[in-house]
């Protein structure tokens, strides 16, 4: 097995371009589990944790965006200043594993794994984040909704690195909420992210389908009927939105929970988030 440990982005890009089948290793909190359980046997690895360009972020106040390098850890995302700019992403970060895991786990790894239960992903979906994929030959910007195409399946091509995700910095309410059977350090059985923009809301669901699910019907309903000025929404609209959220979910039965519970839970979570947003 070969291991390459590049210390610059250029070297990292060259390494993955030279060996497109190499496995990219960031914090290793997903990969090491797979290796240890024998589900994957790598022949070559490009370890990117020493690439300084990947672990920086850049706030552009003029554009109103935050570009978060793929190597930024959830520990950093959980705290200020990122927590101030994207509170929902910080809330999601707080639910990832334990402090030890968050010190190693990167947002790029979460996006790279693309599990429907990845906690950062519903927030990125609701924020219409853009995933930056970089090849030695150039950069592609892919909206998150187009990036993840199935459970653990993305449009990333061999030879590409995930270099960053870019999210808008907004002033309205945003929140993330997740159900698991334990108070912390637990895989989501169902989760919901809500982002409020002037005149429109975005609702995204985790763990209830093969990909992160955007609830367009519920979004349209709330966007049409909520009073964004007075920050009010009627109980009827909340109930109806919760029903539409349930209808949008495509959950399964497994050892972690039942489809019926997951469908029920995303409705409850969406209703609670809407009440928190419009009160």
């Amino acid at each position: 097995m070969s291991v390459v440990v590049p210390t610059s982005l250029a070297d990292a890009l060259r390494a993955v371009a030279d060996d497109p089948d190499a496995i990219v290793l960031a914090g290793g909190t997903d990969l090491m589990v797979e290796f240890n359980e024998g589900r994957r046997r790598p022949s070559s690895i490009v370890a990117v944790h020493r690439v300084p360009e990947l672990s920086t972020w850049h706030h552009d106040p003029v554009a109103g965006t935050l570009r978060i390098g793929a190597g930024v850890t959830y520990d950093e995302i959980e705290r200020d200043p990122i927590a101030r700019w994207v509170p929902a992403l910080s809330q999601a970060a707080r639910t990832v594993g334990s402090p030890q895991i968050r010190h190693a786990a990167t947002i790029g790894g979460n996006v790279g794994t693309a599990s429907p239960a990845g906690d950062g992903l519903p927030v990125l979906a609701a924020l219409d984040a853009v995933v930056e994929l970089t090849h030695e030959r150039g950069v592609r910007l892919v909206p998150f909704g187009d990036f993840m195409v199935g459970p653990k399946r993305t449009v990333r091509q061999p030879g590409e690195l995930i270099t960053a995700v870019t999210v808008p910095v907004l002033s309205g309410y945003q929140g993330y909420t997740k159900v698991g059977v334990r108070n912390a350090m637990v895989i989501a059985t169902a989760s919901v992210a809500l982002v409020v923009r002037p005149g429109a809301v975005a609702i995204a669901l985790g763990s209830v389908g093969p990909t992160i699910i955007r609830c367009h019907d519920a979004e349209a309903l709330v966007s049409a009927h909520a009073d964004f000025e007075a920050c009010r929404v009627s109980d009827d609209v909340v109930h109806e939105a919760a029903e539409l959220v349930r209808a949008a979910a495509r959950p399964i039965d497994d050892h972690r929970s039942t489809a019926a519970y997951r469908r029920h839970a995303v409705g409850v979570l969406a209703a609670r988030l809407l009440r928190r947003a419009f009160q």
Binding site: T177, V179, N183, M185, A188, R272
Partner: protein
């Protein structure tokens, strides 16, 4: 005053919170657990396991494995020189499956090789052709005889009734319920691991192993290896928790066979996944109960039916069954009983010992019933328990008189005095981690409902049913230093601390050296059944007293005194009626006193066909009160506080007692709200800590502890075992609190979110 600050020579005596001799090494990470063992030129061993719950083995082809470079041994049932099976009570479990596999994970073959990766490839290269058979996974089919025997011993491991008193009593108040418990894992952190070192020429073997009972392992091992017991020497490897899962054989025989076959040391270590398959679990159980009471709620008769799913092999199922049914009445007075109990075989994972040993199942049911009874007659859960509280001298439904201290009423009254949480839902600081759902930020405090639940337990201590249970210790006193030798497995419970405390107290020494824990001395019995403080504590105490007698005789002769005049005072020997005072160190300079003592508890009896007989040794009691916050809409629970008062006899090391109580409650909370091995048609769905959820720090409630210290006259040091009771009644207390919060009848643990939302 902490033990560390105590004057030299007085530190760490009985009654003090002496520090663990292995504490610093364990916290600093330098303690050698059995998974860290190594020897020059060792090989790795690994096990091939059945992928099917029930199948006939048509053919095994080992040739592929032999072809791999670095493979030194490949063995199957054919290679077992001695008895082909083992087991704690009946030896019905094959060392390697022969002709048929009976559970997913049953060992079929083992390999030894130069590297774990070589082992893995060798296992992959072994071809086993199976003919898959229908599996028996519903224990009721074993009870009703509708499934053909899956083992030559049949599908019923044991059936036992208890029939006592007037069988015709009905009502006037009747409450009935069916209760279910899922399969809990002991989930110790130190995985199964061993190092087997063969003697030159294969004449014997030395096994370093994390176990609960060295001598029982040796007995079973020697039979399978076809070696005399003296040629099989066991040494305790560092044990990272046990909770019952190390009472049965796991990798012991395999590692020794591989070592003897290759003539080289063999190291085996399970992964977490393999550990879930490789040890026994807590029995899933279904309990039906019907209680008859008078209008004031006093119990008149209890009816019960228990079905314990023992899985594929017997292990200790028959003893677990007896523990369950003989505790059906709970810590309450009741003269009449009709109980029917079954422990049966299925193609599920084998079940055996786990902290609480059958009584957890009984207690979950009888405590659910007591709450139903309270509701039926319109009194609160505390009052119903006070009205029925058992006392010393009461009869059990087996006819046995409870001679132990039985302070049930006092436990309840003192528990009621312990403070309830004063903080509102979510706490004053609005910390989401205090709410159900925690970090997931699911909860809105206004929708949370709080509930309070009670549960009380009775738990037998030590072994039952005519087993001659004993422990051995040897103490040598020379030049002021006591050396203590025993085979008591230290699994984390702290016997190594206690042994030093006993020696310091009885002999007045400061320095106590603990000899290696191995089979070069008589058996200590198992570290289980809450028994080692009583049994091995009694043995160390007895040996120390013998040594002290010899010392006093010697000094009396030298100083022309009577031995009975002498006593230990601090670190000196004194003449209680004269002036002699000499330090123990000085008195023993150049001398050596060496004594061995065996402590037996008093004999017990078998049960007769009506379940009558003095089958148990002694009993301990505990009371728990749980406070929970529940999110009824999402079915999420935060256990806020568990308060407990426990009958401990005497707290010989208060910090150790606290540790046992807190840890036991963690395990009880786990069973109440999250811990379960999920089996679908005999296949395990969650054999990892990703999906077998244990409570973390953030799931642990605040624990408030009260101790009742009424020394137990039967116990050598006045102390009762404290390990199991905290696990027994904490689970039903938490479930009662959830029922109280949401007003629903929950009858299964763990309580899942779906049970709360849709139940």
């Amino acid at each position: 005053m902490s033990a560390v600050d105590a004057p030299v020579g007085l530190a760490g005596r009985l009654g003090q919170s002496a520090v663990r001799p292995d504490g610093v090494a364990k916290t600093q990470g330098t303690f050698e657990f059995s998974g860290d063992l190594s020897a020059d030129g060792f090989l790795w061993g690994a096990t091939l396991r059945s992928p099917h719950p029930h199948a006939r083995i048509v053919r095994i082809d080992l040739s592929g494995a032999w072809k791999i470079d670095g493979v030194q041994a490949v063995i199957t049932a054919e290679d077992v020189p001695g008895r082909l099976t083992y087991g704690l009570i009946s030896h019905d479990q094959p060392v390697f499956a022969h002709e048929v596999v009976r559970f997913v994970g049953e060992p079929v073959a083992a390999v030894a090789a130069d590297h774990p990766d070589t082992c893995r490839r060798a296992l992959e290269a072994i071809v086993v052709e199976y003919e898959v058979l229908t599996s028996l996974t519903d224990p009721e089919q074993a009870v009703d005889g509708s499934f053909p025997p899956i083992h030559p011993d049949g599908n019923v491991i044991r059936h036992q009734r208890i029939v006592r008193g007037d069988q015709t009593i009905e009502g006037p108040v009747v409450v009935e319920g069916t209760y279910e418990l899922g399969m809990q894992d002991q989930a110790f952190l130190g995985l199964e691991a061993a190092l087997a070192v063969p003697d030159p020429g294969g004449a014997g073997v030395e096994l370093h192993i994390a176990t609960q009972w060295l001598h029982e392992d040796r007995k079973q091992l020697a039979a399978c290896l076809d070696l005399p017991e003296e040629q099989v020497r066991l040494v305790l490897g560092g044990v990272g928790g046990a909770f019952g899962a190390r009472e049965d054989i796991s990798l012991q025989v395999h590692s020794c066979l591989l070592a003897l076959r290759t003539g080289r040391p063999v190291r085996m270590a399970y992964s977490r996944h393999e550990s879930f398959l490789g040890h026994v679990h807590r029995h899933p159980c279904r309990v039906w109960m019907r209680h008859h009471a008078d209008e004031s709620g006093r119990l008149l008769r209890v009816e019960a039916r228990f079905v314990f799913d023992g899985g594929a092999y017997a292990s200790t199922s028959s003893a677990v069954l007896i523990n369950g049914i003989t505790h059906a009445q709970g810590p309450y007075h009741c003269d009449n009983a009709t109980v029917d109990g079954w422990a049966v075989r299925t193609n599920n994972l084998p079940c055996g010992a786990m902290r609480g040993f059958g009584v957890v199942q009984a207690c979950f049911a009888h405590e659910g019933q007591m709450d139903k009874l309270a509701a039926a007659i319109g009194v609160d859960p505390v009052e119903i328990r006070l009205r029925n509280a058992m006392r010393t001298g009461d009869h059990l439904i087996t006819g046995q008189v409870v001679e132990s201290v039985a302070p049930v009423e006092r436990l309840i009254r003192e528990l009621a005095e312990l403070p309830l949480p004063t903080e509102p839902v979510g706490g004053h600081d609005h910390d989401p981690m205090r709410l159900p759902g925690g970090a997931g930020l699911t909860a809105d405090p206004a929708t949370i409902r709080r509930g309070i639940g009670w549960a009380i337990s009775i738990k037998n201590l030590m072994y039952s049913e005519a087993f001659d249970d004993y422990s051995t210790a040897r103490v040598r006193l020379a030049d002021g230093v006591a050396t203590v030798k025993f085979a008591t497995a230290e699994v984390g419970q702290g016997f190594v601390t206690l042994a030093g405390q006993i020696a310091r107290s009885v002999l007045g020494v400061g320095d106590v050296v603990l000899d290696r824990i191995d089979t070069h001395i008589g058996s200590a019995g198992s570290t289980s059944a809450s028994r080692q403080t009583w049994m091995s504590g009694g043995a160390v105490d007895g040996a120390c007293r013998l040594v002290r007698e010899r010392l006093f005789e010697h000094l009396a002769a030298v100083h022309d005194l009577e031995p009975f005049q002498l006593a230990i005072d601090g670190s000196d020997v004194i003449d209680t009626v004269g002036t002699l005072r000499v330090s123990v160190a000085e008195a023993t300079a150049g001398l050596e006193f060496d004594e061995t003592f065996e402590h037996h508890h008093r004999p017990t009896e078998d049960l007769d066909e009506f379940g009558q007989g003095n089958c148990h040794t002694a009993f301990a009691f505990a009371a728990h009160r749980a406070v929970v916050d529940v999110d009824p809409e999402l079915g999420l629970v935060k256990v806020v506080q568990v308060a407990t008062v426990q009958d401990v006899g005497r707290a010989l090391n208060p910090l150790s007692v606290t540790g046992q109580i807190e840890g036991g409650i963690a395990q009880g909370v786990g069973l109440a709200v999250m811990e379960e091995i999920i089996l679908v048609d005999g296949h395990v769905r969650n054999a990892s800590f990703t999906d077998y959820l244990l409570p973390t720090f953030l799931d642990m409630p605040d624990v408030v502890i009260g101790l009742v210290e009424e020394p137990e006259p039967q116990a050598p040091l006045g102390a009762k075992g404290v390990g199991e009771p905290p696990t027994v009644s904490s689970t039903p207390a938490v479930v009662a609190a959830i029922r109280d919060a949401i007003g629903k009848d929950l009858h299964r643990v763990p309580v899942r979110p779906t049970d709360i939302v849709f139940g």
